[in-house]
């Protein structure tokens, strides 16, 4: 049985550290924290070490901390930190742990959050370590699916776009294995989900199929999770032009989907979802970004010993 004490002082580094019950506990906490306005974290300080740029993750954490009465300190790009002067990450973390009650870290190197957690005496939250993990984004994605679809078990989730390099997709496909999901992976052949991850899905007996066209597979989709295909991944510009149109979701296509299908995107989007889709009642990508505040309020609250329950 999961309880609040399982989260107090805990590091959040990789989705692999969380089982099904813990994930559900966290999502329930996000439901409670969404409307939480009490200054539960008054006097608490989150130290945000963003060695790489971030908009949604950093701002939603700052918003979450502010809405709970705490504050955020830190920097938003690596060039201004002491690392630019040659300081190791381990030393930076040992200094900063004295300034905050919790450390939020985004760093270009894979495994950096785990290393930071090893040296920090306060909880560390991984806000993206290179191409490796971005666990709080995965929690937000799960929360969005549950909010939009009113359930999390047995969903048919269609992933579209760059499935090779997108860390949000990597974390999410393995985590959906806890919820008996059926996955359809739609991508250009050279942007398929990496082999190791496909093997992991097979080992965990996750039901998944691969496809190269979106339209034939969306009829019974509960969720369409779209990701950006980046021009720099292509050596041939013509191939990019073809791919960006082939892996795009528009209203004509959505007529063939179930009326309740939820359309998600970790954002930023470019061409893959045209603005006409924004008015679709289940275009959930902006709500998804907004749910990030509720989920991150829950994370901050739980790690710092506030459950957000009505104690009256």
């Amino acid at each position: 049985m999961v309880s609040n004490s399982d989260f107090v002082g805990r590091d959040i580094i990789s989705v692999g550290d969380f089982g099904r019950e813990e994930l559900l506990f966290l999502l329930d906490a996000a439901d409670r924290f969404e409307s939480e306005t009490r200054p539960l974290l008054a006097g608490k300080v989150a130290a945000a070490l963003f060695f790489e740029p971030s908009t949604r993750t950093r701002l939603s954490f700052e918003s979450a901390m502010g809405r709970l009465g705490g504050c955020c300190i830190g920097f938003a790009e690596g060039g201004v930190s002491s690392q630019a002067k040659g300081e190791t990450l381990a030393d930076t973390v040992r200094v900063v742990e004295g300034y905050g009650d919790l450390i939020l870290i985004r760093h270009p190197r894979e495994g950096s959050a785990r290393l930071a957690a090893e040296f920090a005496g306060v909880p560390v939250v991984n806000c993206g370590d290179g191409a490796h993990q971005h666990p709080t984004q995965t929690f937000v994605d799960l929360y969005t699916m549950r909010r939009e679809c009113k359930r999390l078990d047995g969903l048919h989730v269609v992933f579209v776009g760059d499935l090779r390099y997108g860390r949000t997709v990597h974390s999410l496909v393995t985590t959906l294995g806890h919820f008996d999901a059926r996955l359809t992976l739609v991508s250009p052949s050279f942007l398929r989900l990496p082999k190791e991850l496909r093997r992991e899905l097979q080992e965990r007996e996750v039901d998944f199929t691969e496809a190269q066209k979106v339209e034939p597979v969306i009829a019974d989709a509960d969720v369409i999770y779209v990701t950006r295909i980046q021009r720099e991944r292509f050596t041939d510009p013509l191939e990019f032009e073809k791919a960006k149109d082939a892996f795009r979701i528009d209203n004509t296509m959505l007529h063939k989907a179930q009326p309740g299908v939820a359309i998600l995107h970790p954002l930023p989007r470019v061409n893959e979802i045209p603005p006409e889709v924004d008015s679709h009642p289940h275009a959930a990508y902006f709500r998804q970004a907004h749910y990030g505040v509720a989920v991150r309020k829950a994370i901050l609250g739980l790690l710092l010993g506030q459950a957000g329950e009505d104690t009256a």
Partner: protein, 151 residues
């Protein structure tokens, strides 16, 4: 009269015997150990074995492997035995085993892993025995023994 094949290898006065090494692993083990260049070494490859079909054997004259060196051999050939010889007697015999986790010994195969930038040894969790495979505890990259780069 039938003649049984025999393998004549001098007994060690003192040193280390690595026996029951996985077949065809001895040369890799020696490359990894980087023993002093004037060390006398006897190597048997693909010898008949009762325990397995074939095995390798290494005898190192006048040199006792350190714990760290033994740990490296274990990553190449778990289940090997290591005997320390002094004055022709076996004074210590150990069955090598794979640890659950270990620090250092090898480099993480992922060039983007943080350990290449920080001054900390890698931390690995053993995932498989045959072939040996590990997972970096920092970046969570899994890789097999053929990709091990020893320190």
């Amino acid at each position: 009269m039938s003649r049984q094949p025999t393998y004549k290898v001098s007994a060690l006065t003192q040193g280390t015997v690595l026996d029951h090494l996985r077949a065809r692993s001895a040369l890799r083990a020696l490359r990894v150990l980087r023993l002093p260049p004037d060390t006398t070494i006897m190597v048997g490859v693909n010898l008949p074995s009762k325990r397995h079909e074939r095995k390798d054997l290494i005898k190192i004259e006048g040199y006792e492997l350190t714990q760290e060196e033994a740990a490296k051999v274990a990553l190449i050939s778990p289940d090997a035995t290591l005997s320390i010889i002094r004055e022709y007697d076996v004074v210590q015999k150990t069955e090598l085993t794979l640890p659950v986790t270990f620090r250092g010994l090898i480099r993480c195969v992922n060039p983007s892993c943080i350990v290449h930038e920080e001054r900390v040894p890698g931390l690995f969790r053993v995932e498989g025995n045959d072939p040996v495979s590990v997972r970096c505890e920092y970046c969570e990259t899994s890789f097999a023994e053929e990709f091990f780069e020893f320190l």
